[in-house]
């Protein structure tokens, strides 16, 4: 399987997914 980081589009899409996860984590941890 090709490394998704070899595709610029997949890199950007993963970055957006990671941003959403980061917000969920911040809401879960933050008070």
């Amino acid at each position: 399987m090709k490394n998704p980081l070899e595709s610029l589009h997949k890199t950007v899409a993963l970055g957006v997914v990671m941003t959403v996860l980061m917000v969920i984590v911040a809401i879960a941890i933050g008070s």
Partner: protein, 167 residues
């Protein structure tokens, strides 16, 4: 103190724009365009443009981190943010900032200790005994540069969200 913080924030943003701007130039422009450049013109990029990009890239990464850490210390949230709220109660925006700061630190580490050493080999800026190392180093530098592009998206979100929270 407030004016000093204001100035340090400006230096942090100036450095950061140069760093991420060059990172995105490499990933969105230079790397995808290289295969389309005629062979006789490729040395212009490898020998002249790329070394200049990498010089400003690595030093702007260093100054972004330096001014960012000074700013976080002056503002009094460096410990709270870097602990990502695990050592007590923190607001969601401080957690976002903390995650973003860690991403920034990881990215700066990648620049100085993975991308730059491998680019030196790939671009022929240092002599290597084994020529097969060059394509391996170029691939490693590219993948870590892509990792930094990936991390730059949530990192910039966290930095902005701290000033202008979504909650």
């Amino acid at each position: 103190m407030e004016f000093a913080e204001h100035l340090i924030r400006w230096f942090h943003v100036l450095s950061g724009v140069m760093w991420i701007g060059l990172l995105w130039y490499l990933n969105f422009v230079q790397v995808p365009t290289m295969p389309k450049i005629p062979d006789e013109l490729k040395p212009a990029v490898g020998k002249h443009i790329a070394p200049a990009v990498l010089f400003w890239f690595r030093w702007s990464a260093a100054s972004t981190v330096l001014f960012g850490l000074i700013l976080a210390w002056m503002e009094g949230y460096i410990g709270e943010a870097l602990s990502i709220g695990l050592n007590g109660a923190s607001s969601p925006e401080t957690v976002l900032l903390g995650i973003a700061m860690w991403f920034g630190l990881i990215m700066a580490f990648n620049v100085w200790f993975v991308i730059w050493p491998n680019q030196k080999v790939a671009l022929g800026l240092i002599e290597v005994s084994d020529d097969t190392l060059k394509p391996k180093s170029a691939r490693k530098a590219m993948l870590f540069s892509r990792t930094n592009t990936l991390l730059s998206i949530p990192m910039l979100y966290g930095m902005v969200a701290y000033q202008n929270p979504p909650f």
